[in-house]
Symmetry: C2
DNA sequence: ATGACCATGTAATCCGTTACATGATTCG
DNA sequence: CGAATCATGTAACGGATTACATGGTCAT
């Protein structure tokens, strides 16, 4: 159950379900995401379990806000989760499946088009990471001045940026290789 | 519905549900995975839709094998899927969430331990990719001799290897940075 | 004989997305 | 006035994992 622990972590300061979704949309979505239809029930069940405590507060617009805060028990549970091993979920990359099966078509033009589109999408992801980097207080660089929280955020963003950057680079190299292969195939045909 | 199209792609040669799961376990799991409880119903519903046709055949051990093959309609559907845009699912990396929230603990020893474990797991993934590379006919290198299918497989494996390789490298760099930071923190305490 | 592997299938459960229902405020 | 945003919640559905049920073969 990762989502509940991630919500626990995000509740370092009290927030509503609506706020938490906004945080996902604003940047946290580079490592996780969830919709309101999942967030509200999750928060409710966490409160029942004693990890959270909610209070209601009027809102300038719209209905009353339900503000959640971590309890001591919730904090203990978060720490337990953090002390456990790194969680490796099964990775699912549909686009790699598409690329591998494109081999059956035997049309390198299609493969080239596909790799170009993939490159676009990956570099869009890179831009998101860049925005997140700029959007956070001190995470642009990192020295001994930054707080522990900022430092860890920086580590995570760099992790993503490196991995996605490598993907973009590979798209470029692969495009070159595909073009060369197509050229050598056309020669053979003569 | 990616799974069904991936099964369609894997059925370039006829196979049973059991075989397909074995293929996931043997290597395809670096980009997708599924359990029998999902595979059998998926194959059945694809047959009803006319994408597959099954035949039964006795097995030396165990019950009769149900062998699925693609129909012409199934092949058309696969091509349609391949010609669509690269599918970008929401990525979910629980370990990045853990890393980011480790900042709240303010214990760099914990962070270091975590990064070491993460490095181990990522390099295990790299090894899987290497095994897959060696396990496939011609995908060790890639020249104009290799078939289109082998070539595309090689592209995919390289894609994964680059991305995961970058993660491992980042773990190493991050470990260095964490150690330096801890050292400078200890100096300040004096 | 006990356990591992072959082989198929169903059912329960959980995780996630999308749609529905409600209603106030704010901006164009 | 209509659309967007604020805000909470439920319901329906689909995707994925795990457990259950069944039973044969093979090696230790």
């Amino acid at each position: 159950m990762s989502l509940e622990h991630i919500l626990l972590g995000m509740l370092r300061t009290p927030a509503t379900g609506y706020d938490l979704r906004a945080e996902f949309l604003a940047g946290a979505r580079y490592f996780w995401s969830a919709e309101l239809g999942q967030i509200y029930p999750a928060l409710a069940s966490m409160e029942q379990r004693g990890w959270l405590k909610s209070s209601r507060q009027p809102s300038p617009k719209g209905p009353q806000r339900r503000i959640y805060r971590r309890t001591a028990q919730g904090t203990r549970e978060l720490r337990r989760w953090l002390a456990s091993e790194p969680i490796m979920g099964t990775e699912r990359f549909a686009y790699l499946a598409q690329l591998i099966f494109l081999g059956e078509l035997g049309d390198l033009d299609q493969t080239e088009r596909f790799l170009q589109q993939l490159r676009e999408k990956q570099s869009a992801l890179l831009e998101l990471l860049d925005q997140v980097r700029q959007g956070t207080s001190g995470a642009a660089q990192c020295d001994s001045q930054t707080t522990d929280a900022e430092f860890h955020e920086w580590l995570c963003i760099m992790f993503g940026a490196r991995a996605v950057g490598a993907r973009v680079q590979w798209c470029d190299e692969a495009l070159e290789i595909v073009r060369r292969r197509r050229a050598s195939q056309k020669e053979k045909q003569k």
